[in-house]
Amino acid sequence: MNAVTRYFTNIRDAVATTLTGMKITLRYWVKEPAITVEYPDRLGAGKTADDIVSDRYRGFLKMEAGKCIGCMQCMRACPINCIRVTVEKAREARMLTRFGVNQAKCMHCGLCVEACPSEALVFTRRFEGASRDLRDLCFEHIAAPVPVARLRAGKGP
């Protein structure tokens, strides 16, 4: 390509590429809606903060007392010891007397959830943990002793 041709090709290219770009931005300008989530106060009708995160989000831990078999696997699995489970035997029944999670220390690694054989311990989507006092984040999941669930052989929970 000689210099003269290149000169005019440059002009044509400059005009053409600018127009292409402007067309794209025009489309975004008039058509595409905003995808911003206006957290926290304009989430849309009926939506809470929990709804804006994905289903497999690792939020706060939740323990379902009716499912826990008191095996303490979660406590052992936790690398930073933020779960405390105590199980006591009263006559024949084993009772879960304490299930505490220190959510302030938890790093949401999920090892405890993986370890749990009965799917009693799961993540919720709750993530708003800002607090003035660390003790607010130490959750006791059972208020009074409950009998542990029985793991039925052969069947998953």
Partner: protein, 368 residues
Amino acid sequence: MYSAANTVYGILHASLAAVGIPEAVITLVAYAIPCGVVIAIIGPIAGMLTYAERKISADIQNRVGPNRVGPFGLLQFPADGIKLLLKEDIIPDAADKKLFKLAPYLVFTSTVLASLVIPFGGSFIVADLNIGLIFIIVVSSLLVVGFLMSGWASNNKWALLGGIRSAAQIISYEIPTALSLLTVVLIAGTFSMQEIVMAQGPWPWQWFLFHNPFTFVAFFIFFVSSLAEMNRTPFDFPEAESELVSGYNVEYSGMRFALFFAAEFANIFITASLATAVFLGGGNIGMDPYASGLGYQLLMVLIFFTKAILLCLVTIWVRWTLPRLRIDQMLSLCWKYFIPIAFVCLVMTAVWMLAFGGNGFFWRMPTI
């Protein structure tokens, strides 16, 4: 030659000279009033443009943009202005204090001066100078003095680089801007802004934009080189956030920064008005702007502002489309492309005028 200052002077003189107020005071006031009105109009427009810029950029990038202050965030710019007023005014120790303080006013002054000869439609023009177009080109070059001054006075390497870049850029782009405006002067045969507007008509085919193919090209050269002159992306080298932090105004804070900012956005509007008046028929609705009634004059103003604001939106749209060029590309664009093409347009327009006796493509010379 019409001048709002003269009119105001006439009114003031009639009523005040009898009371014994000296001539000099009346003259000063007669000039101060129209200027004050123009600043009062330009200020809010610049503010609304900052809002439009943020809103449009947000739309283009699928964001929301300002939406908290007032309905749809419309009151964002007064809030920003108040915030800037309350900010601490910092002057660096090593700065050249006098120049540092003077620079923002110089930049703002050049913007306001340019607005004095813009015909806002009807008889709304502060002074219809017979050298109006030259006046605008001259005072908009004053801008570069302010930029250079602020860059130098800040005693900061980024500011200095920004100032020097703006000097290189604005001075080179002055030439294609002026040349492309000259094509219209060739056709209209006058430098007076109001007469240029009056030489056109209300309909698109009566505008100088469509007078002949060369004015059409000249309009785009004017538009792009004025983008460069007001430091807008893709030519925002003096500011270049990613390279120079913020360029010449990096050391400024508070109200001085706000002045720079307001001048920048006011400049967008001024340039859009200039393009509107010179190429797009201004507020012309086919009537004599001085003789028609107030209702028609306001209609002219409305038409003028519609065109100018639309052009402002295009400016913003371009900014959020194109990335910044390289500095060598910017200079070669100017010297290798715009200046030769602008010259060709100028010469060919002259040839066209000779060949077709001043008639345009769809356009006939008004028979006087």
